[in-house]
Point group: C3
Chain length 274, copies 3
């Protein structure tokens, strides 16, 4: 059992003890799942995106998620304002650049957020994080596309981590988490997770839930991503045979049953360095 896995498992218990409030500025597609995932892991969600209240809401929160899923002019301004306020108050910010690379608006918005807000964790798929790294990637809407093979996820994660002084999580068959120096690979998960919308968004919301109870955002990113991977595996075992609707519901079930014992038994977390 790695020290990192143990640290993550302790955070799981801590979320249920401390019940941190997580402010989500997110999309209208997966918002219900994000709220229920946050509740299932033991934190409390608050979804608020009006520019006249985001500063106050983030001020009473333990972490902020900025998710670009269905961004629009109104919410982009709120994202940046909330992010700046979070920075001012040392509240951790998790950034999910959904679909960056797919439109100029998304590219410009990601750039604006990254230049005006200091984000603590960026989580995305390989296409999204490659775009952030400045690597040419083909994106397919909000799904992972094909990235030039000479670039590897581990290198891309390191680049982005160094460029923005933050933790980077690239989720995929093997998840890669880096803080520029350390490198963790997680082998949990199930391919059916890509057949339910919002599993990425929920992962970002889980990372924020972990950030809400620790200053170690690297551990929080590993914990959030591994928690979703393990929950996906359990959900597949329990309900995968029934179809993607039941699998979807079973992910939330698994999150709500997650604890440090299950995490340590199931987590396939390979801790390393560059």
């Amino acid at each position: 059992m790695s020290n990192l896995a143990k640290a993550c498992s302790i955070l799981l218990d801590k979320i249920r003890d401390e019940n941190p409030l997580i402010h989500n500025i997110t999309n209208y597609v997966t918002v219900n799942d994000c709220a229920n995932a946050v509740l299932a892991i033991g934190a409390s969600p608050v979804m608020a995106d009006d520019i006249d209240e985001v500063e106050e809401i983030v001020s009473i929160s333990s972490a902020l998620v900025i998710n670009m899923g269905t961004l629009n002019q109104r919410t982009i301004r709120s994202m940046i304002m909330a992010g700046k306020k979070a920075n001012e108050l040392n509240i951790p910010v998790v950034f999910d650049p959904v679909g960056v690379g797919a439109s100029k608006l998304r590219n410009k918005t990601a750039e604006e957020i990254l230049s005006q807000v200091e984000v603590d964790v960026i989580r995305g798929n390989i296409s999204e994080i490659s775009y952030i790294a400045g690597v040419k990637a083909t994106t397919k809407g909000v799904d992972a596309g094909i990235v030039d093979e000479k670039y590897k996820a581990v290198d891309i994660a390191k680049t982005v981590s160094n460029n923005y002084s933050c933790v980077v999580g690239i989720t995929g068959e093997i998840d890669v988490i880096s803080d520029g120096r350390r490198l963790t690979k997680i082998a949990n998960g199930h391919k059916l997770l890509s057949k339910v919308t919002g599993t990425g968004c929920m992962t970002s919301a889980l990372i924020a839930s972990f950030c809400g109870v620790t200053g170690d955002y690297y551990a929080a990113a590993v914990a959030g991503i591994a928690t979703m991977g393990i929950s996906g595996e359990i959900a597949f075992e329990k309900a995968g045979i029934m179809g993607t609707g039941s699998f979807h519901i079973s992910i939330i079930d698994s999150l709500s049953k997650m604890n440090s014992t299950v995490f340590l038994e199931r987590g396939i977390i390979d801790e390393g360095k560059y």
Copy 2:
């Protein structure tokens, strides 16, 4: 069996007979659950929030829900316009002041709505209703916070009821419903209901469904709150062991199976006076 419980149970059958149209101006987090809860209990939901159509939509509806969950400048104007039109046409208005106390925008909006619209039922948690009562309460985002202990839910409900000449429902471990004179306590429900987002919003939408078939809004509030409590209990018995995802779905299942017999067998409704 109390007369009130019997009156509520009759309304349940009436909803399935009359299939009232319920106009919801609500949040994008729990809107799908609200629509499915309204359908499950036998009414028809319509979600419409553009200022250019809310007056027409409310005019063909049997009740209106104003839910502040993810309010913004655009929808606040629509809420007030729809509420005024409902008043003009004697269509009942249920107000769910989600998260009031958590931001100036929410406080100001609740005040605007309550000063410009005559609401027939207000439903919220103890923090929200305490704020409306003018009692200092700590809110935790959209969840119930801690209220100064010298104030009791029964007194707070009475105050708000008298101040706004409406029925007030405070949902919690013991639900309290008051019209300023009468006082009903409901002991149904399950603590897991607080681990699924939207159970409060759904309760408000159910109250509106009941308001759509009766002029007795006190009975409608009791019926809506008890229906959710009973459904939560049944859902826990059927699916609670599986986790909060399955429990969530089972709430809708239970609503869709609800009838006067189940209501009368299960309802723990204590009717009284001040």
Copy 3:
């Protein structure tokens, strides 16, 4: 086995092979179900509605859905802009005129869309399509109301099809699909489908998924509508007894398990002419 049913069943396999990207400008009530339905049938959903990105997003997509469910001034402009761009690039457009007839805003918007965008498929209930046909209908919010009995669905479908040179699908107990010359009736489905919000919206999203892999939009409309009908039947058999929550989830399960064999065994597709 009809040739049309066989053609539809081949398209089912083709979606899973080609995984087309489907751009949805849709409502916030049923958007999560639409995304999961598109994923379940083997396509990829992208939901994007900001005017600054819809042209780019539709340009990388294989089909566009314009769904008026919770229209507002901001999204109406995006719908028209996306539709025009789709026309320019010969990308198929599926139009779901949710609740047309219920407000002037909806009527005006449907008119604007139909005058500015060449739509390839229109899908709605009998009230909505009657309104589009210019037949006086009573609508009940977004649900089907009563239509003057002298007008029949088959005639209404033909009228709308001829007026707008498109395929028309009227979903109901018996679904009617017409391209003005041909007429297909589908007897699949279950009445419980009307007790879950979004089954119509999901059907439109499925039609678009089929349009994304063929130029035969008549077959695509038949395939999408029959796929939902069959999935509803299977869902009822598997989970209907439990209630509408479980039935809802089972619809997605059934879509994710759908294949050409099930389609050909179950489809009750009556192909004909006027």
